[in-house]
């Protein structure tokens, strides 16, 4: 896999560093002028921006190692996300070997399929073979206590944290005519629009939010935030169309679909957390939760983005 043209990569890196530097400066000035001790909102803002820096550095490093780097990075993200999911849900002592298999077999094998670009097995390995064999093993273990609940939790854990996440590096296996060697930019496009949409929805919600969208699931999501955020991130997608094989209008449409899926991912993640009685997925990142708290939107957006590009653009 060759690296994308240096020109676009440079624009991308300079743009991201510029945005984050501005964000850090603004947060720094706000914290400097604000009364001490700092409000939790300000502390949280700074922590979020710092997490973004870590994210950008990790992805940039993986970027320069091409498909291998991206595959390893997202396998590690799957590991962290799966660990959070399994920690949160109910399991019993008899599930030990199934749980071990999820970490020790399913993650490596699924990402090996990505790395070797074995599309046929990549799409069915988890939803066909794992989903049938995992409950079979659980049944063979003979422990039927809360059987359906345990099996469902395990399958959702693998679906969300491994299957969905693996569609991000799988973008590198697509063959889009006239776009050869530049697939890494598709990953950049997906992550920037979807994560950007999270931030934009938050900002629009804070500025104009009035009507709660789903008060029983999330007290912070509003219709104004959703509509404003989606409109702004579609515009962001159109502006980034130079990274992609899409025209500006197509880029806006693709970004809109991805960000809508991202919104739904966040909503589902909130519902799961609420059901389990926790505020955050974990404690991976100091002060603000775990991997899934940052990646929930990407998880839902990635497979749909992947199949959109595959159906309409690849051969």
């Amino acid at each position: 896999m060759t690296l994308p043209p240096i020109h676009e990569t440079m624009i991308l890196v300079i743009g991201l560093v510029g945005v984050l530097t501005t964000a850090s400066l603004v947060a720094g000035i706000l914290s400097w002028r604000a009364p001490k001790p700092l409000s939790s909102t300000l502390v949280n803002l700074t922590q979020r921006i710092n997490a973004w820096w870590v994210m950008v550095v990790a992805i940039t490093v993986a970027f320069f190692f091409g498909r291998t780097g991206m595959t390893i990075l997202f396998a590690l993200i799957s590991f962290a996300a799966l660990r959070e999911f399994v920690t949160l849900t109910h399991s019993r002592r008899s599930d030990h070997w199934v749980l071990l298999g999820m970490f020790g077999i399913i993650i490596p094998f699924q990402y090996w399929l990505v790395w070797t670009a074995w599309y046929g097995l990549f799409t069915i390995f988890i939803p066909v073979y794992c989903f049938l064999l995992m409950p079979a093993i659980t049944a063979l273990n003979g422990d039927t206590e809360r059987f359906l609940e345990r099996v469902s939790a395990q399958q959702w854990a693998v679906m969300i944290s491994v299957y969905c996440v693996s569609h991000v590096p799988a973008l590198l296996t697509l063959n889009v005519p006239g776009f050869e060697g530049r697939n890494l930019l598709l990953i950049a496009f997906l992550i920037i629009t979807v994560q950007g949409s999270d931030v934009l929805q938050y900002i629009f919600g804070k500025l104009f939010g009035k009507h709660l969208l789903s008060p029983t699931v999330s007290p912070s999501k509003t219709w104004e935030g959703l509509v404003g955020g989606l409109a702004a991130s579609s515009l962001l997608g159109a502006l980034l169309s130079f990274l992609t094989p899409f025209s500006p209008l197509q880029a806006a449409a693709v970004a809109l679909v991805a960000c809508l899926m991202g919104f739904l991912g966040g909503l589902v993640a909130s519902a799961i957390k609420r059901d389990q009685g926790v505020k955050d997925w974990g404690h991976l990142i100091e002060g603000h939760g775990g991997m899934m708290d940052r990646a929930d939107s990407l998880v839902f957006a990635a497979p749909v983005f992947f199949h959109t590009v595959r159906y309409f653009w690849s051969v």
Binding site: T87, S91, R93, G277, H283, G290
Partner: protein, 222 residues
């Protein structure tokens, strides 16, 4: 016993390597994080007492202590199990620098309290599992054995710190040797002291309740 005397002062190279290696492993597998909820990290002499469900418990707890504290803190382990073969004894004493005691003893030289007091009298700290064995029951915490009370009566100046180890029974259940990676926290609670006139049984139950109260998710049933 003489063995313990000679080497309890500082870690050997093997013990340092083992302890750094195991702490790193604990972090990779469980992302372990200490929650100080009523006490603070300190180099004071302490007895850390914790719930016990897995061989990994002591590794997780020590991973939450600083390297300096760890070098002067010894887990108390059962000689019936860890003294069974030369290999186990080597792992327990030479690598993990634990203190082996006999749960069933007749010979006064094997009196567990005197052995633990010897360690305390060198200024070192202990990690103690007062349930006496790994808990595989459905109860969150078994009744405490009396060692904690006897030690505190003999050395009241040593702080007793309750430590709730979360999830470790799911990571490495008794009888398994491969750990499932799950997130774990260790919650360190406020120091417990024997109240004036408090009898053994009342104190042990109160210490047990203090430890139970640290469980961050008491509602979950696995």
């Amino acid at each position: 016993m003489t063995k313990l005397h000679l080497r309890a002062n500082t870690f050997t190279l093997l013990q340092t390597v083992t302890s750094v290696g195991l702490s790193a492993l604990a972090w990779v597998v469980t992302g372990v994080r200490p929650i100080w909820n009523g006490s603070q990290p300190s180099e004071r002499q302490r007895i850390y007492f914790a719930n016990h469900a897995s061989h990994g418990d002591f590794i997780l707890l020590s991973a939450c202590l600083s390297e300096k504290v760890r070098a002067r803190t010894h887990a108390v382990a059962a000689a019936e199990y860890w003294g069974k073969s030369r290999l186990r004894r080597y792992i327990a004493e030479d690598m993990l620098s634990s203190v082996l005691i006999h749960r069933q003893w007749t010979d006064e030289a094997q009196n567990p309290i005197s052995i633990m007091l010897l360690v305390l009298d060198q200024g070192h700290s202990l990690i103690l599992f007062p349930e006496g064995t790994r808990n595989t029951s459905d109860e969150p915490l078994l009744p405490f054995r009396s060692g904690l009370y006897n030690l505190s009566m003999a050395r009241p100046e040593v702080e007793l710190i309750p430590c709730w180890i979360e999830n470790m029974s799911r990571v490495l259940p008794k009888g398994q040797f491969l750990p499932v990676p799950l997130l774990c926290r260790v919650v360190f609670g406020p120091a417990v002291t024997i109240a004036p006139g408090e009898d053994r049984r009342a104190f042990l139950e109160r210490a047990r309740q203090t430890l139970l109260a640290l469980n961050p998710r008491p509602d979950r049933d696995d």
